[in-house]
Symmetry: D2
Subunit: 396 residues, 4 copies
């Protein structure tokens, strides 16, 4: 069997465990909001994914426990009823040690099967399961941060020293021009891609400009200090409603007291002006762009710019997910796959916006230029930021 | 001054009044939900629009009352604070007769000004105000229906005899093929258009098919009877949540008891199988299309098909607004106009879907092929239906 | 037949109409909160009461319309299903003129029956119906005030000149001592009384003191200015939660801007320091008493003091309903009457507090020393105030 | 120093720990509703009580951590701001082992002080702290049951074998007559009592009857099967609203499927017809009594009966807390104590009902005939049941 797949399986599964090591069973159990999940649920759900879609498919009914099937199914209607999403944090049995045992049992069965060899279709399921698990590795971190942020005493997930050194970001104000025209975007079929990246297709683009760097905390502080959060004319109507209802005055986790601080995975830290701004909603990204006299790029502009032509790409990305102006919608001729796997992406194509790039919490090698991340426009608990765009000179 | 504009002003303003004649002051006052407005508010708000944007602009401060400015501003942040949208139905002073007097006073001042003559810019404001008023004529009817539908005894707005005879609709299952390619959509600048219809621009379309007729009640009854409202696999995730939370089992206003009936402007009526289905949400339209093995058209497909080439258009439309698959977003190079008028459309470009066509409640001559109506995907109180689309044969 | 009863019927029914004369149909239709009712609903419901409990009982089925029975039943489970309380304001058909016609029809039928003569039991129903209607006369005024208060421009129900001159109140700080002991309270059976005033029974009271006058606006301003609304130690736990959730800073309808003003039936008026404070909740009354180093009286103390001995009563009351410390509970051996009339009071004996006295909105002759009014501790839209009490010297 | 107090301190503190031993850190952390608290919070809060009210008082500022003071203060406004009650379950730091260490540290300091000797006032604080802790021992069990009951697979807190054998209950239908008259109730000052049990005072009682036994599950099944939960005429108005809103059909934790079962601390168990009914609200107790043609006793009746005269008490109690008809209110001349301790009971005297007796979860020796427990009328997660009462023969 593909040794590479086995090695990757071992490595990705171990990486999830390593994320959980700094945490207590209590840390791994709670759920501070409907939209986050407990750490131990992430451990169990990613395991259930292999059990349900690989082992059950392989064995035509693996001896799976009904409780686990109920508790660790996320949203697959094909699989059946499940624990309400907002009540995952009330489940304390099975506990963490039983969930770790569950991981070991499933891992062993998957590895045995891979060792004996399985067909292409099941190999693809394992591949999907690993990318799925990597998505949950990022969610694990963002959810833990959200949960710990409920504690008024700013507990740290990891020591500040462990924070990876951020490279100096490219300037957010330097705009590069692109000529547009008829372009192709979407995954070309080489290597793994989620269903929502397909099919590759033509789009027509007007000339546009895109900033070399993402917006930095220092830029954001100027927006705050210029009254950005108090001026309704900068905001979408739904955005302004949210600003007022939630009393937003800064990005999520920011505390403005004796200067600008932010709750992070390393506890409370001073805001670094040069670092990319993170934990902003689409509404905020859109308002900032309007304040700056610019706009957000569409996902087609972003992808075209990032993959442009012969020259090396003029952009670096990967520090924060970048909100685009594109509502999350199916590409032309997008097809939902049959069975439960078909529920992976398609049914969420409504009301959300596409984000491109990747973040400091994204596992290395997980993202790519055609990757389409998506969240609701009010959501802020991911590492989300923005890059500015503008119309190019009019071709007419 | 343009006699045509004066005639149009008189005619549109009178049409609004004629809609209100069958109603009592009580009928005109209440507001059954945040998203509808009282009839008398529509009368006052459309008047305020002329006062604020025409008379005040003309006179550099027309003697306008602060209460009216507060009570009848809808959502213009540039104009100032205003009555909360969901609490318009609590305002009983000014009463209906005062609001009618307000209309007469403003009408007289506008007519005097038009008679004397005003510049092109102010003529455009009047033109915009009339189209604005026509939009409210449709809302007036949909809101009155919603309000009356709260009464468990099905009061009628007008006698059943007055119902316009519905033409036999074209078959919803007959699909016409289009070749796609690089097409232009958007308003070409001849005649009036709202800002969101501009600028005209290129789009690239894959080959597609579009149904000759919209979906009929009979089709919808088959969807219901096939368990369409009970099968989560047909629905978007947010749609299924809504179905469950709202316990939807049929279009809004339908009552399934001794057959299929529906609350209408003519009171409770039997559902006519041949008539277009109406009062469905985007979620339902999308689920129906999936059940039918089809999909919704994009707005570019719809507009291209409706305006295609040399041949007479093969479609009739105008019985129900047709949900498209297109999230409501700005066209490339869309520009928000300066001042309060700029708030007309742009700030709502988030979270809604575009509808095309027109409905039995749309004033004659108000719609056009480039018209972009928009509502949230869960909303059903408009006369909203759907037309099916499908991918064309693959050109590759 | 009793000419007196007929006269009283005519007079009470006319009094209700006279309250509605200053109001438009719009004013009479809206409902600004679940706990208030539209003016026209009060007109219809009090009529329905005579139809349901007098005419139907008399005729063993009077030709009553099902819609009216559904729409104007308040809370009688014995009678059947009914319009949701919070949605009475959405009903515009029947309109005001139809409701007035309904009143005339029912009045005529009642008067004809009374003229012919009816038995004691049905005479008692008429008597109950008239007291019921008087209760609704007070609710009519408090509900209209609440509805008009939603209008940011302070419309008046009646001209300020019409406001009855308030007598100078007795001092709220002058305490009169009572010796307590074994006392009897409750209605003695002479004249009309609601079921909740029965039976007359013994209670044992410790010595106590009661203030000669109710608390005045001037007292309340001192409480506000001493930080009464900001000090949690003065409040019951549920009261403090309410203060924070509702951001209470003064009695309902008060506006603190350029001094102290209040929305009243005469529009916005300056607060008169000597007048009794009104529109306060039980929570506020209780907190004020604690701040003043006193407490609220129990209803037994109040009734004993007001009806004491040989001497003329040392108290005047009737300007505001006075919160007592007594939860609303059945008197010993209280019996719920059979049939729908049994639902009049008994089923509300939970979670509310007893108020004694009467208010400026209470119809003359409607109250009496044994009268038990009751509201929830957070409610403020009635004309509610307080009188202070204290423990007497210890008898031990 | 009082050896007895030291022994009692050791024993009560150990008893709390022993309750937590069957539970994991996850079990001890979550909070399934605002009104329950996490197990580890109970451990910490009861410790904080000794630190705040004993050690700080003793040392005039014991080195207490601000986080603990914030996190483990329950509701003492005198002490300062605190963690929101409904968000205690989001705190995972300090974890369980740190909280256990905190207990040991405080225990040691208290014991050292007691060993050296402290004055009467501080001894009283320790005594209060121990009774406080015993109250939390009962809450610990009821909260754990509530939390575990959220798990759809019915995990058990302890093995079924450990369930204490329930004695055959006395018949709930056998009524014993009492003559009433002038009686004294309240604590006589011998031994410990909470402030709300004071002062002892006179009440006048009509003749009444009280059942020898509490209502049993078998009685309750008859109520269910007679349509008790579907008949609005049996219910208080607020009770019926709750039945409908919550869709109550049986006591909390009951599952009607293949007979009657109930989630218990021993997992899912068949309902034992002879055992006392538990987990019912005041609303249900009141409705049941009405259905049975009886009523609930007042707390004065209950206390008088239980402590009556020369004969041995004719009642046993202690299996379930018994709802009384008495709203929780201060006794005549009740005084709130100065300082934070004064917040213990007084500020909750609103909107709740008194329960008497004790339950299977009450620590031995914790209750007494004058004990006043109290909960809101809709609450059901305590071990709450009822005993029927009736009016005695009329003395008149």
């Amino acid at each position: 069997m593909s040794n590479a797949l086995i090695q990757r399986f071992l490595s990705v599964r171990e990486q999830t465990l390593s994320l959980s090591r700094p945490l207590s069973e209590a840390d791994m159990t709670v759920q501070a909001a409907d939209f986050v999940s407990p750490g131990s649920w992430h451990l169990a759900h990613t395991t259930w994914f292999f059990e349900e879609f690989f082992l059950c498919a392989l064995n035509n009914r693996w001896p799976q426990s009904e409780p686990y099937r109920f508790l660790f199914n996320s949203y697959y209607e094909n699989v059946g009823r499940r624990q309400a999403q907002g009540k995952r944090g009330l489940i304390t049995r099975p506990g963490l040690s039983e969930i770790l045992r569950y991981r070991r049992t499933v891992d062993q069965a998957v590895l045995e099967a891979l060792d004996k060899g399985v067909g292409k279709e099941l190999q693809d399921v394992v591949e999907l399961g690993l990318h799925h698990e990597q998505q949950h590795q990022e969610l694990f971190l963002t959810d833990i941060l959200y949960n710990l942020a409920q504690n008024p005493f700013f507990p740290a997930y990891r020591p500040a020293a462990s924070r990876p050194k951020r490279p100096a970001s490219a300037p957010s104000s330097e705009m590069i021009a692109f000529s547009g025209g008829l372009e192709r975007i979407g995954h070309d079929g080489n290597g793994f891609g989620f269903d929502n990246e397909f099919p590759r297709h033509w789009v027509y683009l007007e000339p546009f400009q895109l900033a070399r760097g993402v917006v930095a905390n220092g830029d954001w502080i100027r927006f705050i200090e210029d009254g950005g959060y108090r001026n309704p004319l900068l905001w979408l109507a739904d955005g302004w409603k949210t600003v007022q209802a939630e009393q937003w005055q800064a990005p999520l986790y920011w505390i403005i007291r004796d200067g600008y601080h932010s709750m992070t995975l390393e506890g409370l830290q001073a805001v670094v002006p040069e670092a990319p701004v993170a934990h902003i909603s689409y509404f905020e990204a859109d308002a900032f762009a309007r304040w700056a006299g610019k706009r957000l790029p569409t996902e087609a502009e972003w992808e075209t710019a990032i993959t442009c032509g012969d020259s090396p790409t003029p952009f670096s990305y990967g520090e924060v997910w970048e909100w685009t102006a594109s509502p999350y919608a199916p590409y032309p001729r997008f097809k939902i796959r049959p069975g439960a796997i078909g529920e992976y992406n398609g049914k969420f194509m409504c009301g959300q916006y596409v984000l491109r790039g990747g973040s400091s919490a994204t596992p290395p090698g997980h993202s790519r230029p055609t990757y389409r991340n998506f969240f609701y426009p009010h959501q802020r608990w991911q590492f989300t930021g923005l890059r500015l765009a503008a119309d190019g000179p009019d071709a007419d």
